[in-house]
């Protein structure tokens, strides 16, 4: 084919990648996030100091070559603790986001397709969840269920499941409303009608024609959910109701650091920086993804 190759032809994913690269802030964020994720995943393989080695001679010591991020009040190495805790904080963020998006998309899609009474009931439930005071309820639920779940699946896994489920179940409402609104407008679109005229089933209409068109805002909402979940976990840990004290999640590190802010600011700054960088870069990443995945937008 002797077509004047104005631009190289690429598949849809290549096209998305091309668009994504033009969003400079998103690319930088992706790199930062990748470094953070890679750091907490493979970092401990290279930085082999144990997270719980107590060394009173290095108590509250600032950054040094032996301990780049300093030590806490027991002389434990903060870099090792941040990397270990990051695994859990990030895992909580992604898992809680998955729970929130799954529930939100399901509720929103059902409400948006069904309309009528079912829609009214589902939106009533959504509003109910939105109007609940989240933090007190989170604390109450964790307080009530932590011990019983601990006995069944062990302290770490039990608290992880509990926290992920609860944070997820308190963050699906925005996604549900978003998806419902998108469905209401999309299901009246001519291309949905046209697909129906071509013999597409209801399921196919939803999964292939309506949902992909609703995905842009959902991706952005999902990234915000990750950030919100990380912050929620940090908040819980900071309040002492998250993971057990021997698991140094980022929030837990802040909690432990708060009494020594005057003498050892580094103890709070580094975990705080980790939370901040993660949340900010995830949000920018969401922006970039939305632009990249929308073929209507010309970049």
């Amino acid at each position: 084919m002797a077509a004047p190759a104005a631009r190289k032809r690429v598949g849809p994913w290549g096209e998305a990648w091309r668009r994504f690269r033009k969003h400079r802030l998103a690319v930088v964020s992706a790199v930062v996030l990748a470094v953070l994720i890679l750091g907490v995943l493979v970092g401990p393989l290279f930085w082999t100091l144990p997270i719980d080695e107590i060394d009173f001679s290095a108590r509250l010591a600032g950054p040094s070559w032996a301990h780049p991020l300093g030590n806490d009040d027991l002389g434990q190495d903060l870099l090792a603790r941040i990397m270990y805790g990051g695994r859990i904080s990030l895992a909580v963020g992604f898992a809680a986001m998955a729970v929130a998006v799954t529930v939100g998309v399901a509720v929103g899609a059902i409400a948006g397709m069904a309309g009528g009474k079912l829609d009214a009931v589902l939106m009533w439930v959504t509003d109910l969840f939105l109007s609940l005071p989240q933090l007190p309820l989170l604390l109450l639920i964790i307080y009530l269920f932590r011990d019983s779940l601990k006995e069944v699946v062990g302290p770490e896994v039990g608290v992880f499941i509990l926290i992920v489920t609860i944070i997820g179940l308190f963050n699906w409402m925005q996604v549900a409303r978003l998806v419902r609104a998108q469905f209401f407008s999309l299901r009246e679109k001519e291309f949905v009608e046209a697909a129906r005229a071509l013999g597409a089933s209801r399921w196919r209409l939803v999964t292939r024609h309506i949902l992909p068109n609703a995905l842009g805002p959902v991706i952005v909402a999902a990234t915000i959910d990750i950030a919100a979940a990380i912050i929620a976990e940090s908040t819980l840990s900071f309040l002492g109701l998250g993971f057990p004290p021997d698991i140094p999640t980022w929030g837990r590190l802040l909690f432990d650091a708060k009494d020594n802010l005057d003498f050892a600011p580094h103890w709070a700054i580094f975990p705080g920086l980790a939370i901040f960088l993660t949340v900010v870069s995830i949000n920018f990443l969401g922006d970039g993804l939305r632009d990249a995945l929308d073929p209507r937008r010309v970049i």
Binding site: A197, L198, A200, N213
Partner: protein, 344 residues
């Protein structure tokens, strides 16, 4: 109307053998609103034979689109409801069929082209994927075979460079090109009937002619029948073999195209033809374009007699007494007017 009378008027080759391709009889489709039931389609009989082009013409709100959408059950039910009548597709009634059975008929047996090409394609898939979708569903082709079929369909509807264009997204096509893609989608499973609901209304005049030519070409090549919904008498004259004129949810006249333009029998049809803008007359006589006075009656509570009586220059008291039946005035030419003979 029987198949025999049709055969007399314009003998289609297959009319004598078996049931007609499509036979709508006494169809009534009503919509529930807060004010009551709107009788959008109120007793419509339309028949389509194999290989012919039938135009359904009428002004906005006369029920032509609802009739077309009802054939494939594309209207929303509720609020819509098929109150009475039958839609015989090759002798089989579509009215009682469930959603799954209807899906097997859509695209595979009856293709549908919508009015609005700019928004009838899904923006997140390539046109190739969208054409292939119907083929894969109905014929179970593999992804690769379906893509080849899609490219072949694009070539069929005269899109240059189909192998390349098949991977383009809808926003990379112009309006006329998109309507070609829509036609390609509707034809991808070789339907026996193509229903086109005002396929050219949203397009430029030059593109309109191209699309009409394309549909004509496709019809001849694939040997299918076309049911063309339009409000443009020019489109009717250009494409139709037979014409059905609808007014206020009912058929008021049905005739072969020459007979309809040569000797229109219903006053509404006469008004429609008089209101076609004519450059030759306008230039010489400084005439104003003729319009039909008045407005369409409310379909919530239509008048008891002839629904056109209030706007009709030939109306007599008897017109408002009882609804005029659709009757065969001359062979093959039906009109729902009690004075059809005197006024035509």
């Amino acid at each position: 109307m029987s198949a025999a009378t049709m055969a007399a008027a314009a003998p289609p080759p297959a009319a004598a053998a078996g049931p007609r391709l499509l036979e709508i009889a006494g169809l009534k489709v009503h919509f529930r609103t807060d004010d009551g039931w709107v009788r959008a389609v109120d007793g419509v009989d339309i028949g389509v034979d194999r290989g012919e082009t039938l135009c359904v013409v009428g002004e906005s709100g006369c029920g032509k689109t609802v009739t077309a959408m009802t054939i494939l059950k594309l209207i929303a039910m509720p609020p819509g409801k098929i109150v009475a009548g039958s839609i015989l597709w090759q002798g089989r009634d579509l009215v009682p069929l469930g959603p799954d059975q209807m899906r097997a008929i859509r695209a595979k047996e009856i293709g549908f082209v919508f009015q609005e090409p700019m928004t009838s394609l899904n923006p997140v898939y390539t046109v190739g994927e969208q054409i292939a979708e119907a083929v894969r569903q109905h014929e179970g082709l593999s992804r690769r075979a379906a893509r080849d079929r899609a490219a072949e369909m694009l070539r069929l509807v005269n899109i240059p460079n189909p192998q390349r264009r098949v991977d383009d997204y809808p926003h990379q096509f112009s309006g006329g090109m998109r309507q070609r893609v829509m036609i390609a989608m509707a034809l991808s499973c070789n339907p026996k009937l193509l229903i086109a609901d005002e396929p050219t209304t949203a397009l430029d005049v030059t593109i309109q002619a191209q699309i009409l030519d394309l549909m004509q070409e496709m019809k001849e090549r694939l040997g299918m029948a076309v049911l063309l919904i339009t409000h443009a008498m020019g489109v009717v004259a250009e494409t139709a073999q037979r014409v059905v004129v609808m007014y206020a949810g009912q058929v008021v006249e049905e005739a072969p195209v020459e007979a309809l333009f040569g000797r229109p029998m219903h006053p509404y049809t006469q008004g429609l033809i008089r209101s076609i803008p004519r450059l030759d007359l306008a230039a010489t006589e400084h005439r104003r374009l003729e319009a039909i006075p008045g407005t369409v009656p409310s379909l919530l509570n239509p008048p008891a007699g002839c629904r056109f009586a209030a706007r009709c220059r030939h109306a007599i008291p008897a017109c408002s007494a009882a609804p005029p039946p659709l009757r065969e005035v001359t062979p093959g030419h039906l009109a729902a007017c009690i004075r059809a003979e005197e006024i035509s």
